[in-house]
């Protein structure tokens, strides 16, 4: 525990804006912990880390961590992150988004960031609901589930962020959960180290909004659900209907910023500067 206390003091803006906004049982704190442990494990200087966040509960993470932090507009965090990374490729840019952020209003930016393969790590905190807005359905809400805006059950099919981002061309795509905290640490560490665009989807329970409306007795039952309904990729059998977790894609193609640097170098060599 001493180690944890040390990390809190080192990486959180402990004199600012606490207590935090996360509800009891919320998975976001665990993901935040993973993010901090990953940065710590990689020994990244705090000045070189930029956390760019969207709007909502996950967006608040940017306030708490003692890095360069930008709290942007709903869904557009990746566009800001793209500008920051291209302006200063030395920076480690981590983009924190919720499922509404990343898959709904920001869906276009997500696929294009993946297509460009820009060296940004996207952390998609998927609680399958709009939490801060009060429990409305999101593009990740499972079909049939109820929410404030799908009182009769959602008719729509949810996005699979992993498949979407893989198809769009990202280098590194993984899924973890806030139940599997150690694994999440590894995934995020891995993602940050990878060149090009990396995305880690973290399934993260929202007991207050999602759980309450979908007959989860308490927060613990939501974590039990995560444990029971997910399966590590390597253990997955063909007819398994559980949600696979693990690393889906890990390529080493150069990121956009590296290709841009190459272009500059070649133009200079040709005397076009």
């Amino acid at each position: 525990m001493a180690d944890v206390t040390q990390l809190i003091h080192e990486y959180l803006r402990h004199n600012k804006k606490f207590p935090h906004v996360f509800c009891p049982g919320c998975g976001h704190g665990i993901v935040l912990g993973s993010l901090i442990r990953s940065v710590h494990a990689l020994q990244l200087p705090k000045d070189d880390v930029v956390v760019v966040a969207g709007i909502g509960c996950s967006g608040r993470m940017a306030v708490y961590v003692d890095f360069n932090t930008v709290h942007t507009t709903h869904g557009r965090a990746l566009t800001f992150a793209t500008g920051i990374k291209m302006a200063n490729p030395r920076l480690k840019v981590i983009c924190v988004m919720g499922d509404g952020d990343a898959l709904s209003i920001g869906g276009n930016h997500l696929i294009h960031a993946a297509r460009r393969n820009i060296g940004v790590t996207a952390l998609v905190l998927n609680n399958m609901i709009y939490g801060m807005t009060g429990g409305q359905c999101s593009p990740a809400t499972p079909q049939g589930n109820t929410s404030m805006t799908t009182p009769h059950g959602s008719l729509e099919q949810p996005f699979d962020a992993v498949e979407l981002v893989s198809a769009a061309g990202a280098n590194y795509v993984a899924r973890g959960t806030s139940f599997h905290a150690n694994m999440l640490d590894r995934l995020i560490t891995d993602a940050i180290q990878h060149p090009g665009f990396s995305m880690v989807e973290a399934l993260s329970p929202c007991p207050t909004q999602y759980g309450r409306k979908n007959k989860f007795r308490d927060a613990v039952s939501m974590y039990e659900w995560l444990k029971k309904n997910t399966v590590k990729l390597e253990n997955r059998k063909e007819d398994d209907t559980r949600i696979p977790i693990g690393v889906f894609r890990a390529l080493d193609r150069p990121g956009l910023e590296d290709r841009y640097a190459e272009l500059k170098a070649s133009l200079r060599a040709k005397g076009r500067a």
Partner: protein, 382 residues
């Protein structure tokens, strides 16, 4: 350093307005362009895509849409770059939320809007001046902003440099409004040398990071700005924030922050307000115009003078904050003032507000995608 102007031959080129804007941006030190193509602004982007990658630290990126373009240039600006985007009406509409964000986080950047007929997709290749009030009030919330215009190709270059300077000086987005005629007219321009120009850059902090207040009250009400990655680990948010940059809803802190953001622009009105006066000294009839209309108006004023009518022209180069003193002076003195514009009266509305009953404000409006000709203006003057 000695002034080299006299010994160097100035570079003269035959260029269109859009190319001149790109040239001005590069002279002003723009090293980041993020954009999305849209008629009639696209040539700005095309020139930047040619010129930025070979330059020392130039970054050009074509984003997936205009919302992303604005996001990218705000990010680049926060990371210490002089950044720009260029668009036209429909794209400008999409950018509005992020223009508000840029106002709130006080990110210096330049947005060029080459106006086309509207609303909606309107008339893509025809001139209009319909985005004047949107440039001022397009985003939600109450805010101050600087809006400039240009009426000749040479002015396109010059006003772009001014736009960057003002953006850096006042830490604010600056909108440059051009109309399609100005953007696509080709004429000879002189490209100044960089050392002939006054190029301003944002003030960066000199205090150690632990003393730094990123949104503090400051001289000129413009706080110093630390680029991301420079060792000042600040928080930037579109939420109303305190002097440290953290969200607040305390009325005294909100009030202070909002008032400072207005004050930083309003108190330097004299510096921001740019107008050109032509034969206004003894004018009895004044034409107030901007953009390509000002060129028609100038010819009309000359024609009117030839016929013995004491006409004058006030060309507005700054549209917002509205150049009240210059306009008021003419309203007080002239028998009537005429405001020709390619919209239903977006600047004449400001003129009427400033006029306050001094004289008669006449309007001449065209919204059919056609330019306003000198003879139309002359007829209205006489």
């Amino acid at each position: 350093m000695p002034n080299m102007n006299t010994r160097r031959k100035r570079v003269e080129v035959f260029a269109q307005g859009n190319e001149a804007i790109a040239e001005g941006a590069l002279l002003a030190g723009c090293s980041f362009f993020g954009g999305y193509p849209i008629t009639p602004s696209t040539e700005i982007m095309e020139v930047m895509s040619q010129r930025l990658p070979p330059s020392e630290d130039g970054v050009f990126i074509q984003m997936e849409d205009e919302i992303a373009s604005m996001g990218a240039i705000i990010g680049a600006s926060l990371a210490g770059r002089k950044a720009m985007t260029a668009t036209s009406g429909p794209g400008f509409s999409l950018m509005q939320e992020h223009i508000g964000y840029a106002c709130m986080v006080e990110a210096p950047l330049v947005v060029v809007n080459v106006m086309r007929g509207g609303p909606s997709t309107g008339l893509p290749t025809s001139p209009a001046q319909g985005d004047v009030q949107m440039a001022r009030w397009g985003t939600h919330g109450d805010h101050s902003i600087i809006v400039l215009s240009a009426s000749t190709v040479q002015e396109c270059l010059e006003m772009t440099v001014v736009a960057f300077n003002m953006a850096e000086k006042y830490r604010t987005p600056v909108i440059l409004l051009v109309d399609e005629v100005t953007a696509h007219t080709r004429e000879k321009i002189t490209i100044p040398y960089r050392d002939e120009l006054e190029i301003l850059s944002r003030v960066t902090p000199t205090v150690p990071p632990e003393w730094f207040k990123p949104f503090a009250e400051a001289t000129r009400a413009v706080p110093a700005m630390a680029p991301i990655g420079s060792g000042y680990r600040i928080h930037v948010t579109g939420l109303t924030h305190d002097q440290m940059g953290f969200p607040t809803s305390r009325p005294d802190e909100v009030n202070e922050a909002m008032k400072r953001m207005f004050r930083k622009i309003d108190q330097f009105y004299g510096d921001i307000m740019m107008v050109d006066e032509f034969m206004t000294d003894d004018a009895e009839v004044a034409v107030l115009a901007y953009g390509s209309v000002a060129r028609s108006a100038r010819y009309a004023v000359e024609q009117a003078r030839a016929r013995g009518v004491k006409a004058g022209l006030l060309t507005l180069k700054t549209l917002f904050p509205f150049p009240r003193p210059a306009v008021e002076k003419l309203c007080r003195r002239c028998k009537h003032v005429l405001v020709p514009e390619m919209n239903m009266g977006q600047i004449s509305r400001e003129v009427k507000r400033v006029n306050n009953g001094y004289t008669r404000v006449r309007t001449l409006n065209r919204v059919d995608g056609q330019i306003i000709t000198p003879s139309e203006i002359l007829k209205a003057i006489l």
